[in-house]
Every structure is written in C-alpha cells, then in structure tokens.
C-alpha cells in the first residue's frame, strides 16, 4: 500500500482547503517558477506528478482519488530544479464567472495540459482551446515585469496521455488530429499564430512521461543552450556517442547533447542510475556517517558544489600530472594532486556491454550526474574522460553556483576540454 499522506509529508505538499485560489506567500517570495497542470478530471494529472516526482509505481495510481482543490507541490526536495507544480482540479469549472482565477497564473511559466487519449478527447480539446483563449484575453501569458515590457512568454505543453496501447503510427495520427483541431478552434478567435504549443504522447506505464517532462523542464532552464553546447563539446572531445545530464532523483534529464535522443538509450541510462543507487544502498548500510545530511534513498552521494566553491579549486589543472596521479595513488600535497584527489572521490560506475559499448556514470553533485554511452575502444583511455568530465562538472558548478538550479540566474563560465589530438 502506498501511504499518500506520507508522500505529502515527505515532499512538503501543501493542500489548500479553504480558498483554493489564494497565493501562498512563501512561494510568492521565493519566486520559484510554477508549472500548472491542467486537464479534465481523471485525465491523469495527479498520477503524472506522483510517478515522476514521488516514485509511485504506475499501477498504484489506480488508488489515487480525484483531486478536489488546487494542490501546490514544491518539487525542490525531489529534484535539482526548483519549481512548484500546481494541479488545477479537473472537477472545477474554471470558466465559472464567480470564480476568481487571479493569482493562479502569476509567475506561471508553463502550462501542461493533459488530454486523456482514451476518454472524451473532443471535450478535452475544446476545453484546451477555451483555456488558451481565456489566458490570452487576460494577458496571463506574458510573465515578468509588464511595465518594463521585459516579459517572457508562457510555455504551452500538451500531453496526449495514456497512449501506452497505441502503435507509433496510431500516436502520430492522434497527435496530428488533435493539433489540427486545436488550430481550428484557436483560429475562431484569430489565435492560431499567437502561441507555439508543443505536443507529447505520454504514458506513466513507460518512459514517455519522463522524456516529455524532461523536455518541459529543459525549456525552463535559461542556461540550456550553454549546457547543450558544453555537452556537445564533451561529446566531441571524449568521442562519446550520447550523453545525458540527469537529475538523479527524478530521472529527468536536464540536458543532453544535440544529437537525437533514442528511447532505448535514454531508458537504459535511466535504468543504469536506478541500478547503481539500489545496489549502492545495499552495500553502504552501516557505513554512513551520521553527521552528514542523509537523503532517504540516495544517501551514498556526498559531494556537493558547495565544497568546490569554498575551496576555490583551480580550474587549470596540469593535464600530464593529473593523469599520472590518477593512475598512481601517490600522496603528494601539491595543488594538482588535490584536484586529482577530488576526481578520485567522485562516485562513478561503468557497465560494459556486449555491443562493445560502455555506459559511464559520473556524479556531478548531490542532484546531477552525467551518464553517457561511449564505444569501448574510446573508453580505454579513461583518464582523459574523467579529466573532461571533471572539467565539465566544474564548469557547470560555475554556471549555477548553487545546489539547485535557479531558473532566473544568468551566468558566465569557462570550460576547458582536451582530446587525444591535443594530448599528443
């Protein structure tokens, strides 16, 4: 049995029973961005939230009850990325004029609209169009300082949900139909060119929901282009086939290089992390020092960015020395050795596959890890890869300078990679 109250306590979910539309001041102050989950009742909103962020097994969602009021969840304990998810109850009629919707859309960067592909699709689609119209009419989609006109546009994401039984072709057809229909409805109010809506076919019974949520989150990260660029450099210099920067608690990928994502590869990388964590927990029992903060399921990871920032680690590591140090565990105390010491302490894992590929896991901090797929022949020079990953890690710690991504922060960074050609 899943005890939902325990979930709520654990992850700090706030249920508002009196006035569902009053802003919570604690959230307001922090200005953490907000994702609003909308959709008809029973479309799967609560399930999505619990499966992705609270690790609920998909078949347990059958026991979830309909959500009667607006529910706000602060996701910062189960993810690197700080944001709130507000679930708008499907039961409530939001066009009812007695109903005060001011505040709901404040600071709302993303709306995820969930359409149940198995039930009432036309109703759901027309409700979506009505919602968009309402938002446009009230100018809710412009977020930020309206006087300065420094506004950003709200993201519209549509999850065509519960598609696990459809073939790829079936999903495509359904998505085309829905996109077409939404455009038609929006054009009735001349809104067809106003919004760029993205569509995803999802199901909690496979990885599609994690992939869709990954893309939703990526759009919220202002530094995404830089992250992707850094990962592209990493791929090029270390001859990597595919790399993901994972939010390890949610298994969402915060960034990836610009090559296309294959479902199989993402799934395997995600399972890899799960296995590492499960495995590590078994053999870390009884070894955990009590003075360290321990997170319930991932106690084995200890290093955070904070260490690095305090220690001011020199980014210019002397490569030759460093690689040597990696191989011989000598105990000098000069600067470059200190850096290699850090390298050795990072949690890592390697899986060799019979396809002559290697899966490599490299911890970035408490919340983030790199997972990549590399041909075995290019992995034999592991020192180089570790060196590049370590530099990447330090570069992104400069970017974020925090243990959580602050979605509104800007940054500058320097990043230094080597490849084999440079080494020679």
């Amino acid at each position: 049995m899943v005890d939902l109250d325990a979930f709520d306590n654990l992850y700090g979910e706030t249920k508002q029973s009196e006035n569902p539309f009053r802003q919570q001041s604690e959230f307001e102050e922090e200005k953490t961005p907000k994702i609003l989950l909308m959709g008809l009742k029973k479309s799967g909103k609560t399930s999505i939230k619990h499966v992705v962020f609270y690790k609920m097994p998909p078949n347990k969602t059958i026991e979830l009850e309909s959500t009667p009021t607006l529910v706000q969840s602060d996701i910062s304990n189960s993810s690197f990325i700080k944001f709130q998810i507000w679930e708008f109850p499907g039961q409530l009629d939001f066009f009812d004029s007695t109903f005060d919707s001011i505040g709901i859309f404040d600071n709302c960067q993303t709306i995820i609209y969930v359409i149940d592909s198995q039930e009432e699709v036309p109703e759901s689609v027309s409700n979506l169009a009505k919602t968009i119209h309402h938002i446009h009419k009230n100018n809710y989609h412009k977020i930020g300082n309206k006087q300065d006109e420094k506004t950003i546009e709200m993201n519209f994401e549509v999850f065509i949900h519960k598609v696990e039984r459809l073939t790829d072709e079936g999903k495509n057809d359904l998505q085309n139909d829905i996109e077409q229909r939404v455009l038609e409805l929006l054009s009735e109010n001349n809104l067809e060119n106003e919004f760029e809506i993205r569509y995803y076919c999802t199901s909690i019974y496979d990885y599609s929901i994690f992939q869709a949520f990954s893309k939703v989150i990526q759009r919220l990260i202002p530094q995404y282009a830089t992250l992707e660029n850094l990962l592209d450099q990493l791929v090029k210099n270390s001859k990597i086939e595919k790399v993901f920067l994972f939010d390890v608690l949610s298994r969402i990928y915060v960034a990836t290089d610009s090559s296309p994502v294959e479902d199989d590869v993402y799934e395997l990388c995600s399972e890899f992390i799960t296995m590492i964590f499960d495995f590590s927990n078994v053999y870390s029992v009884g070894k955990i020092q009590t003075n360290k903060p321990i997170k319930s399921q991932d106690s084995w990871i200890s290093n955070t960015f904070d260490n690095d920032i305090n220690n001011e680690i020199d980014l210019e590591i002397d490569l030759d020395q460093n690689i040597q140090k990696n191989q011989s565990n000598s105990n000098n105390t000069n600067k470059s050795n200190k850096s290699s010491q850090v390298i050795n302490e990072r949690n890592s894992a390697v899986v060799k596959l019979q396809t002559k590929n290697v899966l490599y896991f490299y911890e970035v901090n408490d919340y983030l890890s790199l997972v990549c797929l590399i041909p075995e022949k290019d992995f034999d020079f592991q020192g180089l890869i570790v060196y590049n990953f370590e530099n990447f890690r330090q570069a992104i710690s400069q970017i974020f300078k925090l243990d959580h991504i602050n979605l509104f922060k800007r940054f500058g960074s320097k990043f230094d990679l080597v490849n084999r050609e440079k080494l020679k």
């Binding site: 499960d278 870390s284 029992v285 390697v350 019979q354």
Partner: protein
C-alpha cells in the same frame, strides 16, 4: 557434456503455484519440466509417460499448497514420484516446497511449516527400507511474496554443484587474497547465489536476493536495448564493486572497501581466479557428468 542429461522436474497439483513460481524463479539454463497440475495430466505422468518424464532427472521439486488440507493426494503423488525416481534417476535429489506460507499468520507460520515437514518426512520414511538408494529430501516453506523462494532456489542450485565445498574454500581464499569485503558467485542465467565469502558481517541478510534482483532487472533492460550486459564496476566512497562473468556458467561479485586498492589490480585478480576456477570446474566435470556445471 550432454545437455539432455540435466533436468529439473517441477510437480504439484493445479493451483499450487508452479507457474507463478517459475516466472519469478528465473529461467533455468537446463531442461525444466513443469508438469501440468491437473489430476488427469498428473495421472499420465505416472502412467504411460513415466519413463520419459523421470529419466535423467537431476532434481525433483514438489510443490505443496500450504493452504490445502487434503494432503493425502499430494503425498500419493509424491510417493509415485519417489518410486519412479528410484527406478529411472536413482541419484536425484528431492525438494519439497511448502508454498504460499504468506497466507499463514506470521505467529503460526513456523509451527505450520514444521508440522507439514514432519508429515512429509514421516510419510517418506516408510519407504527408506524398500528403496535401494537413500532418499535425499529437503523441505522449505516458501512464498512468492518474500525472500523465502529465493533462498530455497539458491539452496537447490547450490546442491546441484559438484564439489561445492572445494569451490567454497577457493572462493574464501580468493576473498582473502583480494582483501575483499565480500565475494559472491551467481549462477549465470538465474542469478541465484551459488556461494559467497565475506570478511565482515553484514546486517542485511537479504542482500544477495536484492543484488540479484537489481542486476537481473538491469540485465533485462540491457537486452531490451539490444545491448546485452557484460560487466560492471561501481565506485563510491564506501566501496568499489565489480560484477563480471566468471566461469562459463557464473558471474562473480567482488566488493572492496579499501580505497587504496586499484581497480586494475582487482580486475587482474578476477582474471587469474577465472582461469583457476575454470580448471577446477574442468576437473570436477570429468567424473560427474550429470551435475550442473558452473
């Protein structure tokens, strides 16, 4: 090695849990006969097909449903099996699984299993004088809902390995030579524990079952992505773990907690041990053709 020679028979009445047990108990890499449980079907096994079924049996597993009170019929089937085995596979071992113990309230469980065991053993003891070879029977209380089934199957696999004591001694010295915290051998396809050696005591007595489950699950994911698993290395501040294929039918897990020990050194040790164990296995294979070869 002749593949037709190794066979596990899984027998029990309809509904006793054989099919669900098999899907949880991992595919064995040798011949596995799940005899249908319907009475008419069972009659056949002891009738016309008797010699085909009971020849070359390595192990017979009889599944009792602990919630069924009419054990008479089960005991009759067991009796027929015992006689058929003594005729066609006199060296075979018998395991009785007293299954679905999760349905017995926890405080009574121990007693119920014990009295069930007694009933079976008492019943079988009647035949010990008639039979030529001594009966080798072991009973376990099991359930698909907890670790008991894993433990029972691990013991069954263990019993199938020839010269297991010798193997364990070698594993133990390997553990010491490597300065390992723990070394575990897993059967390749089922990932059941064959043998283990530890240099410290662990609180978590169910860790083998967990590790086995995690790795098996991950191996399936690898297969699904069309990139079968080969080996693995995990390194964190508490330990370094190696999982690698070992002899032809086994995987080895080595846990090292001393951070001074180099990965390369451990890999090398595993390589050396692999050859050593392979030789050991070759030797035992010669005189014991029927056995499960690791």
């Amino acid at each position: 090695m002749n593949p037709t020679k190794r066979k596990i028979l899984l027998i029990g009445r309809s509904g006793s849990g054989k099919t669900s047990m098999r899907s949880i108990s991992w595919e064995f890499n040798f011949k596995f006969m799940d005899c249908g449980g319907q009475d008419s079907y069972l009659e056949n096994f002891f009738g016309s097909q008797r010699d085909r079924v009971f020849r070359n049996v390595e192990v017979l597993i009889y599944v009792f449903d602990v919630t069924r009170k009419d054990t008479e019929k089960d005991l009759n089937y067991l009796e027929s099996s015992v006689f058929a085995l003594s005729e066609f596979s006199p060296e075979s071992k018998i395991f009785c699984l007293i299954h679905k113990v999760d349905l017995i309230p926890e405080e009574e469980r121990e007693n119920v299993i014990e009295s069930y065991k007694e009933e079976i053993m008492k019943f079988l003891s009647k035949f010990s004088e008639i039979l030529e070879n001594p009966l080798k029977v072991t009973c376990f209380g099991t359930s698909i809902w907890n670790e008991t089934l894993f433990l029972a199957w691990s013991k069954i696999v263990y019993s199938l390995i020839p010269k297991i004591q010798l193997l364990e001694e070698h594993l133990h010295s390997f553990c010491q030579i490597c300065d390992a915290e723990e070394v575990v051998l897993f059967e390749r396809s089922t990932f059941l524990v064959i043998s283990a050696s530890s240099s410290k005591t662990y609180q978590d007595i169910h860790r083998f079952e967990k590790i086995s489950k995690f790795i098996k699950h991950f191996k399936l994911s690898c297969n699904k992505a069309h990139s079968p698993f080969q080996s693995m290395e995990i390194r964190n501040r508490f330990f370094t773990a190696f999982v690698d294929s070992f002899t032809a039918n086994s995987y080895i897990l080595v846990i090292i907690s001393d951070p001074q020990i180099e990965n390369a050194a451990i890999s090398l040790n595993i390589q050396v041990a692999r050859n050593h164990f392979e030789n050991l296995v070759q030797k035992t294979r010669g005189n014991d053709d029927n056995a499960l070869v690791i």
